[in-house]
């Protein structure tokens, strides 16, 4: 995909979110980041309602520890929704807890990434996702 990267960023911490945004700014391919603060907000944004749903394709970057609806609960909802279930999700979290990792992969995430605050790591992450976006075919239309 040569078009700009579209990222759905579901992250409640402003600074962690800004980290990702800054990292993508340093990557050659332009990107649009849709930021949501928790799972509920994200689902509304993805499904559409008052505002139109975010256009496909996109990559979802998901934090696990969020208020109201946490990452795993969001994944449950996502995989249960026929329109959204085929989305590609990368978990980005501080939790090294094995149970969390298992829970994420059980719900078919594409990858589980640990947050660090080292800038080089964030940049590499953005580069990796950019590379993924360019080389991997993602669904544009979903016919449930």
């Amino acid at each position: 995909m040569q078009e700009p990267i579209r990222i759905i960023l579901i992250e409640d911490d402003d600074i962690d979110a800004e980290s990702i945004e800054r990292a993508f700014q340093s990557v050659p391919l332009p990107s649009t980041i849709h930021r949501f603060r928790n799972g509920e907000e994200a689902l509304r944004g993805l499904r559409g309602g008052e505002a139109p749903a975010v256009t496909r394709p996109y990559l979802i970057l998901l934090d696990l520890a969020m208020p109201r609806m946490n990452g795993v609960e969001f994944l449950e909802e996502l995989r249960g929704d026929p329109h959204l279930s085929k989305s590609v999700v990368f978990v980005i979290t501080t939790s090294e807890n094995e149970q969390d990792v298992a829970a994420a992969y059980q719900r078919h995430v594409a990858g589980y990434i640990l947050k660090t605050n080292q800038a080089p790591n964030s940049t590499q992450l953005a580069e990796m996702l950019s590379s993924y976006w360019r080389h991997v075919e993602l669904l544009r239309e979903v016919h449930p």
Binding site: D13, I15, D16, E18, R22, T94, K115, N117, A119
Partner: protein, 393 residues
């Protein structure tokens, strides 16, 4: 009296009992058989008593056992003689044995009376058992509470270190971004402040990590056969950069202990020696030997040394000897090391001396592995497997 003993076996003065009175065969034989059976029993019983006494050398009143054995045997012999008298009237011999039995019996009575109060003082097995069970139950309760507390502590330490680290990361990122975006516009003093800000945040991060380590120190109980020479080599490889220090170790024994705490000890002591060194290339000598069931390892460096008056203070929590702006350190390393070693039944102290160089003496019990666990059989084997290792890094 002498005649009496000279004629002990003389039967001429007396008739055989069969011939004395109107004995029916039945009546006579009842006496004889009963006496013989009794003799048999009174012969076997002392044997049982002696066997028991020999198998249980820790029996409480040995004298009683001997006395009982003696008077029962003696009484048995009397019965044997009584049976025999039906044919051979050795009444003098009979008298001797009866006197012997009487004497031993009285002796037993005296001994029993003397020992009765003592015997009553000893609690019965049933009482001891129920006491023991009560103690065990109480101990089990305490253990349960301890385990619950430890779990609570672990959870607290994990949550504290995890949740406290999160805003820290934020601070570090923000400082970084300010430096990146506004660096040129900032007066040099503000840039310096920014750097110090990042430094403090990093320090707090390390402190939290060390705090977590400290709270966990001493928990590891999974022991294995540990070659300290190999362990040292591993630690040196990980923590000492090529050419930055010279670390040599000799005669480090193999012991039975958990790996992680030992790695922590080596890492901290070697790391400290390098960190506090004021010269070009730190030289660290690590020597081991065995002493009365303990493995003793001395870590000697050629750094600036530690004044004897701070001998104990360096092991206290959060204590550093140099200002933290000069040498980064949470001040917890040695406290963690000491806690970990104490939990293993070991110890660490600074060997006192003036002038340059510091030597830490680490002491660890060489745990004996049981035959089922395999591994080491005794301390001599440890000595044999002690290796010489040297590495100029």
């Amino acid at each position: 009296m002498l005649d009496f003993f000279r004629n002990l076996l003389d039967t001429s003065d007396f008739p055989a009992r069969w011939n004395c009175g109107n004995w029916t065969a039945g009546h006579g034989w009842v006496h004889i058989v009963a006496d013989l059976i009794t003799f048999g029993a009174y012969f076997a019983i002392p044997i049982c008593i002696v066997v028991y006494k020999r198998r249980r050398p820790d029996v409480t009143f040995p004298v009683l056992f001997y006395l009982f054995g003696a008077f029962i045997l003696s009484c048995g012999l009397v019965h044997l003689i009584e049976a025999g008298i039906f044919w051979v009237p050795v009444y003098r011999l009979s008298a001797v044995f009866k006197v012997m039995t009487a004497v031993v019996s009285i002796g037993t009575v005296i001994a029993l009376v003397r020992l009765l109060p003592k015997a009553l003082d000893i609690p019965g097995v049933a009482t001891l058992n129920s006491q023991l069970q009560k103690e065990n139950a109480a101990r089990a309760l305490v253990e349960e509470e301890l385990r619950a507390r430890n779990e609570d502590l672990d959870e607290f330490a994990y949550i504290a270190s995890h949740d406290l680290k999160s805003p820290l990361r934020g601070i570090q990122s923000l400082a970084q971004w300010i430096a990146e975006d506004a660096g040129e516009a900032l007066p040099p003093q503000s840039m310096q402040h920014l750097e110090k800000l990042q430094g403090r945040a990093l320090r707090m991060q390390r402190l939290l990590e060390d705090l977590l380590l400290y709270s966990r120190a001493g928990r590891d109980t999974e022991s294995e056969e540990l070659d300290l020479g190999a362990l040292c080599a591993g630690v040196v490889e990980l923590t000492v950069q090529e050419g930055s220090a010279r670390v040599q170790w000799h005669a480090l024994p193999t012991i039975w202990a958990p790996r992680a705490p030992l790695e922590l000890v080596f890492r901290n002591l070697i790391g400290n020696a390098i960190k506090h060194h004021d010269g070009e290339i730190p030289d660290i000598q690590i020597r081991g030997h065995l002493e009365a069931g303990f493995a003793v390892i001395e870590f000697a460096d050629d750094g600036p040394g530690i004044e004897p008056e701070y001998e104990e203070r360096i092991f206290a929590l959060f204590q550093t000897l140099r200002p933290r702006d000069e040498v980064e350190g949470s001040g917890m390393g040695l406290a963690v090391v000491r806690k970990a070693l104490n939990a293993l039944g070991g110890s660490i102290r600074l060997l006192s001396k003036e002038g340059r160089g510091a030597t830490f003496r680490v002491q660890l019990p060489v745990r004996q592995a049981t035959r089922e666990e395999g591994g080491l059989a005794n301390a001599e084997q440890c000595l044999e497997t002690a290796r010489e290792g040297e590495r100029a890094v």
